[in-house]
Every structure is written in structure tokens, then in C-alpha cells.
């Protein structure tokens, strides 16, 4: 499977073991998981099964006890905490389930935020003026009129609007990988589908991959591949989830 590493392979997780600190901390073991460039992967599993934990590992927010997590050929498990922060800033966009935005900043401020920490992404976007234009373009692409909401405090936006701002932030400067932790759980079905279509369209243009987790199998048709967490964990303790594969 790992026949052409570094060319089409975006993410490769191998023999990763992790345990949250503290007594009887939740532990998880992932023998392997991979993602190609431009591929959209949905990871589903019930609440508490460790989806967010796995994403934290992939994003380099926490480091595994053992194993390798290669993103674009770089094993981030071997990097120090601050190097992982830098790597994430350059190559990944992260969307949380909720509370993605700095409430006092405007939508545009929030979209521009990662550029402060990622020189390559900043260079890709261009000058100061170009950055603002790009932020507005992305917001417009996700169905938000930046001239209407661009200057408003993020805290005053609706949940659906906030999630779209967060997605725009994850995509500005074209990072190779977008990581999303149930970004649609607070949205109604129609808004959710529209959100996913818009994100997919934009990602496709930059050939970026998407790793998204959800407990909702109904999202499956909008992804290239669906994986049940129970199937990739070493001891699949979690209950099997019915999956509708496209």
C-alpha cells in the first residue's frame, strides 16, 4: 500500500499507541491508517470511542507514545512540541466541533489568523492586500458575504456562519490537509450538506486532503472513503456502526 510514499500519499499512521495522562487514562492503538492527496476520508465512531483523540494525534497537538505519523513524508511523532506547532501551522487546517473563532475578532481577522504563524502559507497568498482579498474570496466561496459580515465580531455570527468562517480559516494559504472534528454537528441537515459541498469544492481545487470525524453515518455519500474507527483500532472495543458506503 505504501508503494509511492511522498508522491500521492498525504498521511500515514503506523503502529501508533497513545494514552491520555492520568490514572486509567483512555488508551488507543492504531495499527495503520492512510490518506492520499486530495482524498476525503470520513472516520465514524460512537461518542467516546477516541475520534477526537486520533485527530489530536494526526494534528500533532499531542504526540504518540509509539509509532509513526507521517504527514507529507515527515514523521511528526518525532518532532518536538513547538516544531509540531509550526508544522501544523504550515500544512494543516483544523476545524473543531464548536468554538472555533476568537470571539472579539472579525470574521476576516479569524480567517487571516493562521498566516501569522505560517510563512509559506502567507507567501502563497501574497501581499497584505492579497491576504484580505483571499479571505473575502474564501468566505464568499463558502456562501458568506464578507462585506456584510466581514467586520462583525465573530461572536455575533450564527453557529453555521461560524463553522464556515472556521473552514475558510482552515483552507487559507492552501494547506495540504484539513482536519475537521465533527464540524457539522451543530448544523441542520440542509446547512450541513451545503457546507460539505462547498468545502469539498474548494479543497478539490487545491488538491488538499480532508480527514473528518463524525458519529453520523449519514454524511458518508459526500466522501471518497468511509472508515469505522472500530475497524482500525487494535482492540475494536467499540460497537460496530452501520455504514452506508456510496
Amino acid at each position: 500500500m505504501a508503494d509511492r510514499p511522498g508522491t500521492t500519499r498525504l498521511l500515514e499512521v503506523e503502529a501508533v499507541r497513545y494514552r491520555w495522562p492520568g490514572e486509567a487514562g483512555f488508551a488507543l492503538e492504531v495499527p495503520r491508517l492512510s490518506l492520499d492527496r486530495g482524498e476525503r476520508l470520513l472516520l465514524i465512531g460512537p461518542s467516546g470511542s477516541g475520534k477526537s483523540t486520533l485527530l489530536a494525534l494526526v494534528a500533532g497537538i499531542v504526540a504518540p507514545l509509539e509509532g509513526q505519523i507521517r504527514v507529507l513524508g515527515e514523521d511528526i511523532a518525532r518532532l518536538g512540541a513547538s516544531a509540531r506547532d509550526r508544522f501544523r501551522a504550515e500544512h494543516m487546517g483544523v476545524v473543531f466541533q464548536m468554538f472555533n473563532l476568537l470571539p472579539y475578532g472579525s470574521a476576516v481577522d479569524n480567517v487571516l489568523l493562521p498566516l501569522s504563524f505560517a510563512p509559506k502559507r502567507r507567501a502563497r497568498v501574497g501581499s497584505h492586500l492579497a491576504q484580505e482579498t483571499e479571505a473575502r474570496r474564501l468566505l464568499a466561496r463558502l456562501g458568506l458575504d464578507a462585506s456584510a459580515i466581514g467586520r462583525r465580531r465573530a461572536a455575533d455570527l450564527s453557529v453555521g456562519q461560524q463553522q464556515r468562517v472556521a473552514a475558510a480559516r482552515a483552507m487559507i494559504g492552501r494547506p495540504e490537509l484539513m482536519i475537521a472534528d465533527e464540524p457539522t454537528s451543530a448544523l441542520d441537515t440542509e446547512t450541513r450538506d451545503q457546507f460539505l459541498d462547498l468545502v469539498s469544492g474548494e479543497l478539490a481545487e487545491s488538491d488538499a486532503g480532508l480527514l473528518m470525524v463524525s458519529h453520523d453515518a449519514a454524511l458518508a455519500p459526500r466522501f471518497d472513503r468511509v472508515v469505522r474507527l472500530a475497524d482500525i483500532l487494535r482492540d475494536g472495543r467499540s460497537v460496530p456502526v452501520p455504514v452506508a458506503v456510496p
Partner: protein, 419 residues
Amino acid sequence: MIVLRLALKSLANRWLTALLTVAAIAVSIMLLLGVEKVRVGARQSFADTISGTDLIVGARTGSLQLLLYSIFRIGNATNNITWASYDEIRQQPEVAWAVPLSLGDSHRGFRVLGTTTEYFTRYRYRRTHALELVAGKPFDDLFDAVVGAEVAASLGYKVGDRIVIAHGLGSVSFVEHDDKPFRVSGILARTGTPVDRTVHVSLEAIEAIHVDWQGGGRVPGQAISADEVRKMELKPKAVTAALIGLKSRIATFRLQRAINDYPREALVAIIPGAALQELWGLVGIAETALAAVSWMVVATALLGLATMILTTLNDRWREMAILRSVGARPATVLGLLSAEAGLLTLAGVLLGTALTYVGLVVARPLIDRLYGLHLAIDPPTWGEIGTLAAIVLAGVIAGLVPAFRAYRLSLADGMTVRT
């Protein structure tokens, strides 16, 4: 930079708490600087109680005791100097001038000082300030009295008022020299020294009121009226102490030794500046206590700052997690929080310093008038600047502690940004 702008917006959103924190720090700084100014002012005022006098001479006693009764009007002289000894000292070639002081009577709680009119021209305070009259003139007639500013203010005296001097020092005295009343001939300007609480009369007047006295009481059947006493020759036989001015300072120690070794009478001569220093050493414990209290207030304000940052951390911690998710380094997160603490402390320190000076400018004339305390308006000393810088640094550290906590939390919580 956008991160800085957002941090400022976040701070602006918490403006009320931030403002209160800054106010608390400012108040503590005002207290710290204010206490310092008053301390320095008080020490200076104290040291400036008497200047221009090279030696104070009295009967042999402790130097502090002599200083206390001759200058501060506290306590009593146990012995007097005979007029002959005083006269001999006055005649010494090194001596430029001498002013005799005769103490022992009082007027409604204020001491009465018998002296010569030279006292008003020789006495100096705050280095060069001479006594000034706000009304009337120095004593001229035998029964004239010049009262200090506080005497006039608290007893409501004006020039021309009649006053009666009591024998002894009690504030309620039953033995009064009521047969020989005095007239207020002048009122002195406030000096902030014990002069304000003194009634000055001539040396002859002291003789006159005691002419028909012996020991502690009037000699029965021998009353001499005020008019009769005017015709008598009133030559003092003794004085309590004397202020001496020298032609040249160089002679100070030599004359001091000579007086201390005076063969015919047990005398002592003290140098006012040295004795004042010694006295301040005793009074100075209070200033240490005062300084300790103001430091505690500063510590309280800094604790308040740390508390404020800790309590707002619940909201901010989400901010930190978001910043980390977009790639902010630990240093950035720590820097933002401690920079905020440092900024608030700096604002507090600057505000407190500014308010201290405004307060000084406004209150100085009042304090000078009410308490005779002269506060200097000088730029902050290097010592004070160092102290203030240390406080700002302490503020940064006070912010660093919660910042570390925030960072550790934002690490440990992984992908889950909770409410």
C-alpha cells in the same frame, strides 16, 4: 500583527476588570510613593527644625534631652546655666552671636519662652528660612508677647489681646501670673517647627513675673505690681539654654570641648544636626512600619492582578486552544498572557505615579499650611524608578504563573475545545 490586535480586542472586551485591576495597582503605587514622599519630607522637616545655629548649650544632661527641651519644648531642664557662665561663653572670641532661652512657664498648654529679640533674627529653619511676623511686631514693651502660628490659630489670638501666663507647665494651672498680664504684640508665620507652639516673651519679662516669687509660690504680703516692676532693674540670674552662632564653623568642635570641660559649672554643648540625626533614629521605626504597610498593599494589588488573569482564563483558555490549533507557539501563548499582565501593571504604575504628582501639587500647599510639612516635588529618584520597574517585572511574573497553567491546559486538552 493580527494576534496582537486580537489580544488587545480581547483585553478591551474585559475592560471593566482590567480597569479595576489597573486602578488597584495605581492606588497601591500612590500609597507607596506617597508614603515615601511624606517619609522623606518628614525626615527633612525634622532635620530642618533648626539650622544656622552651631551649638546649643545647657546644663549638663543627655544631648537628646537638651535638644528636646530647648528646641522641641518637650520635657524639662533639670538645671539652669548661671548668667555669669552664659556671659562668659558669649564673650569667647569665636562666638558671633548668642541667644539665651529661658523656659519653665506656660500659657494654656503652650510653652512660654523668654528670650531676646535677636531670637527672631537668628533662628533659622529649613536651612535658610527666618522667622516672619504675619501681624504686629516683636516685643517692645516689657509685657509684650509674640505668639507662634498654632498658638494664635488654636486660641484665636490677634494682636492686642491680653493673655495671662501660668507658672509651671501644666495645661490647667491654678497658679497664674494674673497680676501681670501680657499683650500680644505679634504673631509669627507658620514654620512647621515647635516655634509655632510657643509664646515668646522677653527675658526681662520672665524676671518680672517672678520677682515676687520664691520657689513654687508668691511670697505673701510682698506683691509687687506691674507698674512697680517696670521701675526695677530686671537682670536675669540664670537661663535654661542658649543658642550659639560661631564666626567660623571650624571652631565648632574646639568650643564644644571647651564648654563640656567648663570648670566652674557642669555644662554641655551639642551640635544640633548631629543630635537631630540621633533623635530621628529613634523616631524612624515608625517610618519602617509605614513602608512595610505600603509594600503589603503593592503585594495585594499584584495578587489581585494574578487573580484577575486566573479568573478570566476560563474564557481565554479557549482563545489559547484556538491560537495553538492555528500554530501559535508556546512562547506566543505565554507571551500574550504575561505581556497583558505586564501592560496592566505598567499602566497602573504610570497612572499611580502621575496621580501621586498631581496629588502632591494639589495637596502640598495645604499640607504645608496645616502640618508645616514641606513635601518636595522632585522627579522620581533612581531608587524609586528601580522599585517601579521591579513592580512591573513582578506583574509580568504574576501573569506568567496563570499563563503556564493555561498553556499546559491547552496542551492537555487536545482537540476538544469545550465551553
